[in-house]
Amino acid sequence: MRYLTYAEAINETFHQLMDQDERVVLIGQGVTSPWYVGTTTVGLIDRFGERRVIDTPVSENGITGIAAGAALAGIRPILVHPRMDFMYYAMDQIANHIANWYFMLGEKMNIPLVIWGIINRGGEQAAQHSQALQAMFTHIPGLKVLVPSNPYDAKGLLVSAVADDNPVVYVDDRWLYNQRGEVPEEMYSVPIGKGVIVKEGKEVTVVAISYMVVEALKAAKELIKEKVDVEVIDPRSLKPLDTELIFESVRKTGRLVIADGGWRTCGVAAEIASLVSENVFGSLKAPIRRVTLPDMPAPASRALERAYYPREREIVQSVIELMGGNYS
């Protein structure tokens, strides 16, 4: 087996996708930059040229609509927003146009567009350079939302996203970029809407989203010391969501912690909690716990950042409290 970093996996997938299918085009800010999107687009401009690797002006709303128009006309664009924060400018195209087009026009026109939104936070970057907006997009009907957490899924989900005939928001967290993992060289796909159990356990289910899977696995290890057996689930896709996998796990453990790097109110964790209580309430032995950001913009100061971003520690704490213990 071969090991790649997450960023290398994405880069390799772009190369393979563009090599294999001439319709695939990469468009957005920074795709030819030496730093803007990390190293994920290295070599693409030299290999595929400016017609298919299109670095753009700072025009998020326009460029998003333009990518959608190209998708309507037979191109398979991957549109990058190098930070999710900048996607608000594009929100009209995404929510009013791209998400609605197929339904609104009687299923006659579909938009096969991958919107690659990057989360880039920490480092005292403050409120406009830190946002994890997966919940916003999951809220909107007509968009699929993917949240890979490791190099293998990053590749497989990207392949599936490009193959999909619908708009897909591919949420990519830069805190994952240096994670190493096994990645087959050949192209393969990870099915959209299928989650995985990344660690089996019997006592508490932890559903973790995107980067929080990394923290949840660390927490699970730590919890072995505390003699708590945790099951960690990575849904990999928020819409469609693999509810059955989550329900099945909760039926077994009776306890649920949801860890998401977005805000708390109306967040992904809130949605999963309500689905579980609607469907498998009878299996629950304790109230559901959420580990999320507080309802607060991202602060700059490192002193505040440390408290702002939940990590392994908050997950461990929630699990132990669920088990009736104390953790300090």
Partner: protein, 335 residues
């Protein structure tokens, strides 16, 4: 590039008092030294918040802000230290904010890209490209409703011309003849992209034409020219004639973010960077002031000494200040 430069001459300064010229010079020196110090502190690892340095563009902030009253308001961008200082913001609080300390102008929550000094009319900086342009128009709308003569200025870069909100803001301001001045600092780059790769027409000032408002392109590194042209825009706004778009040609010496010159990256030719460094806005002004006998070597030395003392004081203040406390004074989300 030579054609971008407007030489300093006596004619240009004839209506300006010598003291004002010296104050402008001092302000430019203050910004330069402040930014150089910030750059060093980033290199030393003492500052972590992303800093977009203003070195090389000082004449724009100073020329514009000197043409404004204290009550007039400005909004800025990710590259805003210079505007804050030129508008009269407290540099201790600025340095403390860049250190992300509790005593910073935004209590350590904003960092370098989100600073504010409402007491001197610096209403805030947004790091969303183009994002603060309509806010300035909004302040000018309030001025027109309140009839208080307050002028608003939107500072933004050449990159912001690519955002739709720029055109929406210009249209509305022109339509309502609002007292707002659009100051585009064209430094020829938007992150790694040269302007020719992102704009079909690189003459920014021409965007004013379709809105039937004055649009001019000037040497943004000639502080006096920036000052006099801003004065004209202020007068025009005060007469109820509406907005002006001023395109100031300038150059950022360092890379897009941080202290590095980025000469190792395939973005800007070294000769180009060096040409601008050789035509330093401060040095050009200084040479003129010296030639005219307005500034002496002795005075210059005094100015730099004083400026450096102020900056060291600010660094000391920032270093000795505490970090904000978690949950300190509530979470600050709502008033």
């Amino acid at each position: 590039m030579q054609e971008y430069l407007i030489p300093f001459d006596k004619e240009l300064v004839k209506d300006i008092q010598e003291e004002t010229l010296i104050n402008m010079y001092t302000m430019m020196a203050r910004i330069r030294k402040f930014e150089e110090r910030v750059g060093d502190l980033v290199s030393e690892g003492k500052i972590r918040t992303p800093c977009h340095l203003y070195i090389g563009q000082e004449a724009v902030a100073v020329g514009v802000c000197f043409a404004l009253d204290k009550d007039d308001c400005v909004f800025s961008t990710h590259r805003s230290h210079g505007h804050y200082i030129a508008k009269g913001g407290d540099i201790k609080k600025l340095m403390a904010e860049i250190y992300c300390k509790a005593t910073g102008c935004s209590k350590g929550k904003g960092g370098s890209m989100h600073i504010t000094a409402p007491e001197v009319g610096f209403l805030g900086s947004s790091a969303i490209v183009g994002g603060s342009i309509p806010l300035a128009v909004g302040v000018s709308l309030a001025s027109s409703i309140q009839d208080n003569g307050r002028i608003a200025v939107a500072f933004f870069g050449d990159g912001a011309i690519c955002e739709g909100v720029f055109y929406e803001s210009l249209n509305f301001a022109a339509l309502k003849k609002l007292p707002v001045i659009f100051v585009c600092e064209n430094n020829f780059y938007s992150t790694h992209m040269p302007i020719s790769k992102i704009q079909a027409d690189t003459e920014v000032y021409k965007r004013a034409e379709v809105f039937k408002i004055p649009g001019i392109r000037i040497d943004g590194n000639n502080v006096v020219k920036v000052f006099t042209e801003t004065k004209k825009a202020v007068e025009s706004a005060e007469l109820g004639k509406g907005p002006t778009l001023i395109e100031c040609l300038t150059y950022r010496w360092r890379g897009h973010v941080g202290p590095s010159w980025d000469l190792d990256k395939p973005i800007r030719p070294k000769e180009e960077v060096m040409w601008w460094v050789n035509n330093c806005p401060i040095k050009r002004f200084e040479a003129f002031l010296m030639k005219e006998g307005i500034l002496s070597d002795l005075e210059k030395e005094k100015i730099y000494k004083e400026v450096e003392r102020e900056i060291e004081e600010a660094v000391k203040f920032a270093e000795e200040s505490p970090y904000p406390e978690v949950g300190g004074g509530g979470n600050g989300v709502f008033k």
